[in-house]
C-alpha cells in the first residue's frame, strides 16, 4: 500500500542547501543522510511513495520521540552504508539514518564498522510510509538511550525479481548523480502540501 493509494494529499519537499555539514553538538539529535538524487532527480521511491512523504514520515517519527533531526545530503556516494555511517558520525548522539532514492534505508551508529548497522531495510519495494515513521522513531529512541524493538521488516521473495531490474536502473542513475567533490551538505527541508 503506497501513500498515494491511501489518498494522502500530495506534498512537496522544498530543499535548500545551508553549506557543508558539521558535527552536531546536541546529544539528542539524529542525522538523516539522503543520497545524491533524493528529491532532486527522483521524487518517488521504487514503489512510488513520494520522497517528500518519506522525509515527512522520518521527521515525524523523530519528532514524536522528542528528539531533534538534522538532514544532510551525501553528495559523493550512492553507497547506503557509507551514507548512513557518515550521517551517524555527524550526529551528536552518534545515531544516523541513511536513505537512498529508491527507498532502501539503514540506521547506523558512529562507532560501528561501516559495513555493520543497527537496522537495515534492504527491500525498498516493501517499505511503507509507516515503516519510515518507525525508522525515525527507532533512530530517535536509540539516540535517547532507549532500547526499541527493531522495526519489523516484511520479506517477500517475489518482490525481488519483480523489482530487480528497476532497482538496478535506479541505482545507476543515483550513481550518475554523484558529485565527487560535493562532500556532505546540510539541508533545510520544508514539506508543504502541494498548492499551499
Amino acid at each position: 500500500m503506497t501513500s498515494t493509494e491511501t489518498g494522502r494529499p500530495e506534498r512537496t519537499a522544498e530543499i535548500t542547501e545551508k553549506g557543508p555539514a558539521g558535527r552536531g553538538e546536541r546529544e539528542d539529535e539524529v542525522v538523516l543522510g539522503i543520497s545524491p538524487a533524493f528529491c532532486s532527480f527522483f521524487t518517488k521511491t521504487i514503489s512510488n511513495i513520494p520522497l517528500a512523504e518519506v522525509l515527512r514520515e522520518v521527521m515525524a517519527g523523530v519528532e514524536e520521540q522528542g528528539v531533534s533531526l538534522r538532514i544532510v545530503r551525501v553528495k559523493d556516494s550512492s553507497d547506503l552504508a557509507k551514507i548512513a555511517h557518515r550521517a551517524a558520525r555527524l550526529s551528536g548522539s552518534g545515531i544516523g539514518v541513511g536513505i537512498l532514492s529508491r527507498g532502501t534505508s539503514m540506521i547506523h551508529q558512529k562507532d560501528l564498522a561501516k559495513l555493520s548497522n543497527l537496522e537495515l531495510f534492504p527491500q525498498a519495494p516493501l517499505l511503507t510510509p509507516e515503516t519510515f515513521r518507525a525508522i525515525g522513531s527507532n533512530a530517535a529512541q536509540y539516540a535517547k538511550g532507549d532500547s526499541p524493538a527493531p522495526v519489523p521488516v516484511q520479506n517477500d521473495f517475489m518482490a525481488r525479481p519483480r523489482y530487480q531490474a528497476k532497482a538496478a536502473l535506479l541505482h545507476l542513475k543515483e550513481t550518475e548523480m554523484i558529485e565527487p567533490d560535493g562532500g556532505i551538505v546540510e539541508l533545510d527541508v520544508s514539506i508543504r502540501r502541494a498548492g499551499s
Binding site: 519528532e63 514524536e64 551508529q109 562507532d111 560501528l112 536509540y142 526499541p148
Partner: protein
C-alpha cells in the same frame, strides 16, 4: 567384605537434574584417596533405568579426571535415588475487567503536552459542529494525519470551543501537541480508539516527564472532576488504583460502565495432616496458605476444591506426577507445598489500548515422593551399561541413605563441623539433612528450588522463554551504554577496546560465561534485577528457613551451628549470601560447601557414598 589390596571405588549420585560421580582408592583400613570427579545431566527421570547413560558419562568423566580406567574399577556405589518430583501450577486470582467502555490509561511511551483536561468526548469529524464555550476532549482515529488534527484543534479553539485534550489512535501525541497554540494533555496509541464512547464526560491527564499522574490516580480526584457521590466513587476506585504510577491516563465516565478488579474464585485447598485437615482459601494469599501448612505439618496430602481453579491446579500436578512415575493419580501423595504470591502481567479484558495490568497470582509448587522406585532395576541397567565400558562384569551396589551420604560429603568441607545441617539447593526441591554429634541423621524435602525461581522470573517478566529466564537468574546484568562500554548493576562502567556486537547496542544484557546476551523485551535493568532477587528470596530464603525450622532440634534454629549449602543453586552468585544473611541472626555459620576442600557445592553425595563404604570397610576390617 574381603579385606586386602586397595580397591578402586566409584560413587555415583543420580539427582533430578544432575548426576555426579567420583572415584577413589579405598585401602584396607578404610583410608580414602579421592582421585577424580565428574558431572553430567541426569538422563531420564531420576530412579528409572534411563539413568544409566548419565551414570556412564559422569563416572567416565570421574575416572578420566583421576587418570583411571574402567577395567580397574572394583566397585560402583549409587545413591538410593528415590524420586522426589515437584510440580508447579500458577493461577491468577485477580483480573482487571473493563465493562462497557470506561477506559483506563495505558501509559503510552510518548504522550503529548501535560496537565489535566476535562470535557465531553467528541469525534474529530464532529469537532466543527461543537459550539463555542463547550468543553471537549477530541477523539481521533489512527488514520488521521497529525497536521490535519492539529489544524482542526487550533481552528476549534480559535472559535471558542474549549478544547481540553485529545485521545489519539496513532502515535502522534507529541506531533499534535507541538502544533497547538496552548499546552494540552494528549494521550495516544489507543488501539481501539474507535470504541471510545462519544458524548461522555471524560478526563485526560499527562504528567511532566519523570513524574506520575496525581489526579486520576486518586479516587477523590476523579470524584472531584466528575462530581461523583460516595457510591459512585466506590465504583470508580479500582480505576484510580489501576492508574497509579502511570505518566498519563484517560478516564471516560460512562453511565453503566466501570472497571472491576474482579477476584477470580480460586477455590480452597484442603491440607491433610496426620491428625487434622485444614482448609484455606487460595485467594487469601501465600502467607495464609503457608501458615496453615505449618499448623498441620507434616503434610500427608493436599486436595483442591473440585470445580475451582485450585482444583484444576492440584489435579494437574497429580496427573503430571502420575505420568512421570507410573503410579495411579490417586496414589500420588503431595508431601509438601510452597505457595508464592506473584504478580503477572496480563492484558486487561475489555481494555481499549491493549492495557496490561499486573494481576495477583498464586504459584503452588508441590512435592511428591513416589513409592520407593525399582532401584534394583536401575542398578541392573547400570551394571549392563558399565560392563560394556569395563569389558567385564562390575560390582554395582546401592549405597546408603541419601541424606546420610550428603552429610558425610558436606563434612569434608573445611571448617564445617557438627551439629551440621546440609541444605541441598537443587532444581525441584530444597532438601535439608541434620546430623547431630552422634551421627543421627534426620532429613526433610521441601517443595520449590531453582526451577521455581526460573518459573517466577519467566512469569513475572512475561518472557515466555525459560531459557532467557534461566540466564537472567544465573548471571549479573548490565546496560550497554555504547559500543565500547557497559554499566554494571552496581553502577560502575566497564570499557572495551573492541566494539560490542550491534545487536547488543542499547540493550540490557546478561553477562553469561559465553559473553553478553541481550535480554529481549523492554524491561529496564532495575526491574529485571528486582524481579530476580525477589524470586530468589521468596523461594530460597523462605525454604531455607522453613526447612531449618522443621529439622532443627526442638525447632530452634539457635541449636544449629553450621549450615553447608550444596547443589546447583548453591553455585548461584547471590542465593548463598541471601540465605547466610537470613540465618545470621540465629548465630549460624552458613556458607557454600566446599566438598573435599576443592569441589565447591558439588559431589557431596557421591563423595559421601565412598566415605561411607570406607567406614564400613574399616569397621568390618576391625571386626
Amino acid at each position: 567384605m574381603a579385606s586386602g589390596a586397595p580397591r578402586l571405588v566409584v560413587g555415583v549420585d543420580i539427582g533430578n537434574s544432575t548426576t555426579e560421580a567420583c572415584c577413589a582408592r579405598v585401602d584396607d583400613d578404610g583410608g580414602v584417596e579421592y582421585l577424580g570427579s565428574g558431572l553430567a545431566p541426569t538422563t531420564g527421570i531420576k530412579g528409572t533405568p534411563d539413568n544409566a547413560e548419565g551414570v556412564r558419562k559422569a563416572a567416565g568423566q570421574a575416572l578420566a579426571d583421576g587418570g583411571c580406567r574402567w577395567p580397574d574399577v572394583d566397585l560402583v556405589l549409587t545413591n538410593e535415588a528415590t524420586p522426589v518430583i515437584s510440580g508447579l501450577a500458577m493461577e491468577t486470582i485477580t483480573e482487571t475487567v473493563v465493562t462497557e467502555s470506561t477506559m483506563i490509561g495505558h501509559d503510552p511511551r510518548t504522550p503529548g503536552g501535560s496537565g489535566i483536561g476535562v470535557g465531553t468526548t467528541v469525534a474529530l469529524a464532529d469537532l466543527a459542529e461543537r459550539a463555542a464555550g463547550e468543553d471537549v476532549l477530541v477523539v481521533v482515529p489512527a488514520a488521521e494525519d497529525f497536521e490535519d488534527v492539529a489544524e482542526a484543534l487550533v481552528a476549534a479553539a480559535r472559535r471558542g470551543v474549549g478544547v481540553r485534550g485529545a485521545i489519539l489512535g496513532g502515535d502522534d501525541a507529541v506531533l499534535v501537541a507541538n502544533r497547538l497554540e496552548e499546552t494540552l494533555p494528549i494521550v495516544d496509541e489507543v488501539t481501539l480508539v474507535d470504541e471510545v464512547p462519544l458524548g461522555m464526560l471524560a478526563a485526560v491527564e499527562v504528567a511532566e516527564p519523570g513524574r506520575t499522574i496525581r489526579t486520576l490516580s486518586n479516587s477523590y480526584g476523579i470524584a472531584t472532576l466528575f462530581d461523583l457521590d460516595a457510591e459512585q466513587t466506590k465504583m470508580i476506585s479500582p480505576v484510580a488504583r489501576s492508574l497509579t504510577g502511570n505518566r498519563s491516563a484517560v478516564v471516560v465516565r460512562t453511565p453503566g460502565g466501570d472497571i472491576t478488579d474482579r477476584r477470580v474464585p480460586a477455590g480452597s485447598i484442603a491440607l491433610r495432616g496426620r491428625s487434622s485437615t485444614v482448609s484455606v482459601e487460595v485467594d487469601a494469599g501465600a502467607d495464609e496458605i503457608m501458615r496453615a501448612l505449618a499448623r498441620i505439618r507434616p503434610l500427608v496430602d493436599a486436595e483442591g476444591e473440585s470445580g475451582t481453579h485450585v482444583g484444576g491446579m492440584i489435579a494437574g500436578v497429580r496427573d503430571a506426577m502420575s505420568e512421570l512415575t507410573g503410579q495411579r493419580p490417586d496414589e500420588v501423595a503431595i508431601e509438601d507445598l510452597l505457595a508464592v504470591d506473584t504478580l503477572v502481567p496480563q492484558e486487561v479484558r475489555g481494555g481499549l489500548a491493549k492495557e496490561v495490568a499486573r494481576e495477583d497470582a498464586v504459584l503452588l509448587a508441590a512435592m511428591v515422593r513416589t513409592s520407593r522406585g525399582p532401584m534394583e532395576q536401575v542398578a541392573a541397567e547400570v551394571r549392563r551399561v558399565l560392563a560394556e565400558e569395563a569389558q567385564r562384569v562390575l560390582e554395582v551396589e546401592i549405597g546408603g541413605i541419601e541424606a546420610e551420604m550428603a552429610v558425610g560429603g558436606a563434612l569434608t568441607t573445611p571448617g564445617s563441623g557438627e551439629p551440621i545441617v546440609v541444605l541441598d539447593l537443587g532444581g525441584g526441591s530444597t532438601d535439608a539433612a541434620h546430623a547431630d554429634t552422634d551421627g543421627e541423621v534426620y532429613s526433610v524435602h521441601v517443595a520449590g528450588a531453582g526451577d521455581l525461581v526460573t518459573t517466577l522470573i519467566d512469569a513475572e517478566l512475561g518472557l515466555d522463554d525459560k531459557q532467557v529466564a534461566e540466564e537472567i537468574k544465573r548471571y549479573p546484568l548490565a546496560k550497554v551504554e555504547s559500543f565500547f562500554h557497559v554499566r554494571h548493576e552496581n553502577g560502575t562502567a566497564q570499557f572495551f577496546t573492541e566494539p560490542l556486537a550491534p545487536e547488543l547496542f542499547a540493550r540490557v544484557v546478561v553477562l553469561t560465561d559465553e559473553g553478553m546476551h541481550a535480554v529481549p523485551g523492554r524491561h529496564d535493568l532495575a526491574t529485571l534485577r528486582h524481579t530476580r532477587r525477589e524470586a530468589k528470596r521468596r523461594v530460597f530464603v523462605v525454604n531455607a528457613l522453613r526447612a531449618l525450622e522443621q529439622i532443627a532440634p526442638g525447632g530452634t534454629l539457635r541449636q544449629i551451628e553450621f549450615v553447608v549449602l550444596l547443589g546447583g543453586s548453591a553455585l548461584d552468585f547471590e542465593i548463598p549470601d541471601m540465605i547466610a544473611d537470613a540465618v545470621a541472626p540465629h548465630g549460624i555459620v552458613c556458607g557454600t560447601g566446599n566438598v573435599r576442600g576443592s569441589l565447591g557445592p558439588r559431589n557431596a553425595v557421591a563423595s559421601g557414598l565412598v566415605a561411607g563404604h570406607a567406614r564400613g570397610r574399616r569397621v568390618s576390617g576391625a571386626a
